[in-house]
Each structure stands twice: as structure tokens, then as C-alpha cells.
């Protein structure tokens, strides 16, 4: 069969070759990030929305290890609580796009014929439309809130997943074990659900992990533009936006830290995802 390689945008593929220590490091980073987001309410040293204008733009201190932003809020607390929205958003995008993408791709690949044409052409239409533009459009129609940008990006990411799934299903259904299952009297639906999908799942999941990083960037970008996340909700993208004025005044910490968090998270998820994808590719050989 032709090997199907998950789609990768350029960028992080080269770092991965540094070897397994990097993977372990990134896996640890991902675990810590998720733990931090889950435990944020108990970890925060201060109320992330408590305003202390008297101390605005103060540097790191014992009470505020990462300093205070221009509105007088504790940066560390906002980073920790912000991890929740910043990770939850991409999670929603990935969950929704993976579920629907797999259904669409599997239907197109398995049934073929006119259904394949209809589904493939319509998902390609989405390809033609830049994801961010789509998101901005939907947000401007539905207003603020995390739901609208997540849905919009999920739709934008769906074709990546469905196209990958379709090609994997096409390759997998040619394998004799699929014919064997059909000859055994299993229905096409059963074969697809119980044999084909579990066999392609690792590749799709690896791709979804990589997508997670990109969704995080896109959502942070939307927040930075002031779209999506409501103004007071702590969010990394929003923090970069809010920190702009502080940078101009010579206090970059409150903008640089969320930037670093975004970069670190994206790199970590990418490295982990690519490592999984490679492991799957190797095992198949």
C-alpha cells in the first residue's frame, strides 16, 4: 500500500530529529501544562482578575513572581488560569474536527462513488477558504465567546482530517483482511468500525496532536485580534494583546511570558505528535 504521511506544515519537523530526549522533554512539558491547567484554581497565588492599579507594571517580587501587568493583575495567575482557555479551545477544535473529519473521511473512502465526490468536493471548498477568515466571519456574526471561534476553526481543520482519513481508509480497504471479514459475513459498517478505523486510528490521532498546536496558534491569534475570548477572561493570546502597551512602556514581561507559553506549548505538542506519527509509520513497516 502507499504510505500515507500525516500532513505537516513546515516548521518543527527539523527539531524532531534531535532524538528521543527532546520527545521525553516535550512529553513532560505537555503533561505539566495539562496538570497546570487542571489544577490552576488551586495553584494561583492571587485572583487573576483582581486589579491593583497602584502596583501596575511592577517587576517580579515574592508575592508576584512574574510581575504585574498594566492593569495591575498578577501575571503568573493569569498565565495559569489562561492555560485553561488556551488549552480548552484547541482541544475543542481538535475533538470536533477529528470526530467529524473521521466520519466524513471514512464515509467518503469506504462508500466511494457519488458520496465520495460530494463529500470530497465540499470539504475542498473549505480548504479554499482561509481558516482565520472563516473564524473572523463567524465570530463577527455570533459575537464574543469561545464557542464561535472553536466551531469555526473546527470546520476549517475538518478537511485536513477527513482527507487523511479518506486516503487511509482507501488504502486499508484494499487489504485482504477487509475482504476476509466481508466474506465472513460481517456488514460493511461492522468491518469499517471494528477493523478499519482502529487500524488507522494511530495515524489520525498523531495528526490531531499536531493540529492541536496549530489550533492553539490560530485561537491565540484570534484573541490577540480581540475576537473570541471575552475581554476579562484570562487567555494567552489576549494577554499578549493586553501586554502591548506595557512593552511600549518598557515592561515586556507580561507580554513575553504568554508568548513563550504559546510557543512552548505548540512546539511540545508538535514534537509529541510527530514522534507518535513516526512511531506508527515505523511499526507499519
Amino acid at each position: 500500500m502507499t504510505a500515507v504521511v500525516p500532513l505537516r506544515r513546515p516548521g518543527f519537523a527539523r527539531i524532531r530529529t534531535a532524538g528521543a530526549p527532546l520527545y521525553l522533554l516535550c512529553l513532560t512539558a505537555v503533561t505539566l501544562l495539562v496538570l497546570a491547567a487542571l489544577l490552576a484554581p488551586w495553584l494561583v497565588p492571587a485572583d487573576p482578575n483582581a486589579v491593583d492599579l497602584g502596583n501596575a507594571l511592577a517587576g517580579p517580587s515574592v508575592g508576584h513572581p512574574f510581575g504585574i501587568d498594566a492593569s495591575g493583575r498578577d501575571t503568573l495567575s493569569r498565565l495559569l488560569v489562561g492555560a485553561r482557555t488556551s488549552l480548552l479551545g484547541p482541544l475543542g477544535v481538535v475533538a470536533f474536527s477529528t470526530l467529524t473529519g473521521v466520519v466524513v473521511g471514512a464515509l467518503a473512502g469506504w462508500r466511494g462513488g457519488w458520496l465520495d465526490s460530494v463529500l470530497s468536493r465540499s470539504t475542498e471548498l473549505v480548504f479554499a477558504f482561509p481558516g482565520m477568515l472563516l473564524a473572523i466571519l463567524i465570530v463577527s456574526v455570533y459575537g464574543e465567546g469561545l464557542m464561535a471561534p472553536v466551531l469555526a476553526l473546527a470546520v476549517a481543520y475538518l478537511p485536513y482530517v477527513s482527507r487523511l482519513t479518506r486516503s487511509l481508509v482507501l488504502a486499508e480497504r484494499e487489504r485482504p483482511y477487509v475482504s476476509a471479514s466481508l466474506v465472513q459475513g460481517q456488514s460493511g459498517f461492522q468491518v469499517c468500525l471494528r477493523h478499519v478505523l482502529p487500524n488507522i486510528a494511530p495515524v489520525v490521532l498523531a495528526q490531531s496532536t499536531i493540529n492541536f498546536g496549530y489550533a492553539l496558534i490560530d485561537l491565540a491569534g484570534l484573541s490577540f485580534l480581540g475576537l473570541g475570548v471575552p475581554a476579562l477572561t484570562p487567555d494567552w493570546g489576549r494577554m499578549v494583546f493586553d501586554g502591548q502597551t506595557a512593552v511600549q512602556e518598557g515592561y515586556p514581561l507580561s507580554a513575553i511570558l504568554p508568548c513563550a507559553a504559546i510557543v512552548l506549548t505548540v512546539v511540545a505538542f508538535n514534537v509529541v505528535g510527530e514522534h507518535w506519527a513516526d512511531r506508527v509509520a515505523r511499526r507499519d513497516r
Binding site: P176, Y177, S179, A180, V183, G185, Q186, S187, H195, N199
Partner: protein
Amino acid sequence: MPEPALVVTGLSRSYGTVRAVDDVTFTLPSGGSLGIVGASGSGKTTTARIVVGLEHADAGEVVVRGRRRGDRARGRAARLARAREVQMVFQDPYLSLDPRVSVDALLRETLRLHFPRVDRSRRTAELLDQVGLGTRAAGALPRQLSGGQRQRVAIARALAVEPAVLVLDEAVAALDVSVQAQILNLLADIRAQTGISYLFITHDLGVVRCVTDDVVVMRQGRIVESGGTTQVLDSPQHPYTRLLLDSVPRPGWDPRAIATARRTP
């Protein structure tokens, strides 16, 4: 005379302008073993796939135990009944088993589908024993088994359905000689025990001699000769059968004569 296990009449199938299968007719007696031989492109595999139901025919019919096999099964009951008519063992034991499913789970899945009330543990052990696999192989994944062991698993899976006809599509071609002999003996034993009928698709005339009662020789989609295996192999009537026989390498063999014979139609 008992009802034949399989009757194929006037089977035809074209791909574009190529007639892959052209008016193929043969009968497989109950408990019998019929070989289909031919070079690559002779249409033997397409014939097998039509009989199993993986391809559909343009014309002709396939009758198993007196029941005509339709093109498509409608509904679960029809699908299962269809599966119990014909089962298949594929050529490549490395690809015909789901890599994620253990031997035990594979057999149980089939048994649950066809015989929901049977004691699956007992029947699985019986099947493994029948194909000469110990219970130790039961927990194994396909990649932990050798080619011969995998082919035994594939045979057990087909037998689990208790079909009337078992189609073996080059089922021993990918195996080593010593393992191939084990599997051929196993197939002979199973036929003697269960009275199952075999449709044996192969290019290997030695294998045909070893395991079939009757043989049909196919060339470019058509049957050029048919009859009892011994009779066809010992006194071939059609020049193409003779060419096939002469092509089998043996000491004192003259490949040049075959090369010349092929060019003169």
C-alpha cells in the same frame, strides 16, 4: 448422487474490452476438490472472487447446494447465510489477518456472528486443534506467528463458519516448501473429516495433482480443458495444457522449447 456443492454456469465478467472470465462452467461435487489452473491473467482469481462474492458477474450464475447466490445480500440473515455457503482462504497470510486482533478474538468474533449460542471457548479450542495450532497460539497477534501458522489461523477462521465450499486462492503459494506440505496435508485431513468441498485456485500443477480430484484449465478467461486431475495431467488433450505441463521445471527440462511453443499459438 448427492447434490453438488457448487455449480457455476456461464460465468462472464469483462473489464472494459478485456474478457477476464468468459463463459466459465464447472461443477464441484459435494465433498470434492476442484482445481482451477492457469497462468497469470487466465481469469482464475476473478472466477474465485465471483464465487465468493467479492466481485459480481456480468452473466451466469453460481449455485451452492441448490441455492442460487444473488449479487448482493440484503439484510443480516441473508448475509450470514451467504457466508455459510462459501468461505475463502487468501494467498498472503501476512495481509489477510487484521494485525490488531489476536487469534482467539478473531475466532470468537466469527463464532459470535454465526453461532451466538455455541460455547465459544470450547469451539475455539476445537478449531485451533483442528488446524494443528496449540492453545498457546490463541493469545498471539498475527505478527507473532510464522507464515504457516497464520495460514492455519486463516483456515480455522474459514472453518468456524462451517461453509459448504472453501475457496483457496493460491493459499499455499506464499509458503515455504516444508510448510506448504504441512498445510496441504492438513487440508486433505480436514476434507476427509468434515466432507467440505474445496475450490483450489493455483498455478502450481504439483499442488493440483496433490490435492484435487478434478481440474479445469483456464486460458484468457476461458476453460480450455477439464476433467479428472490424473487424466488431464497424464494425458493432456489441449496444447495449452501440454504447454503448462512442459513448463514445470524438472531435470532434463527444455525451457527453450517452451519459449518457442509459446510464440507459435
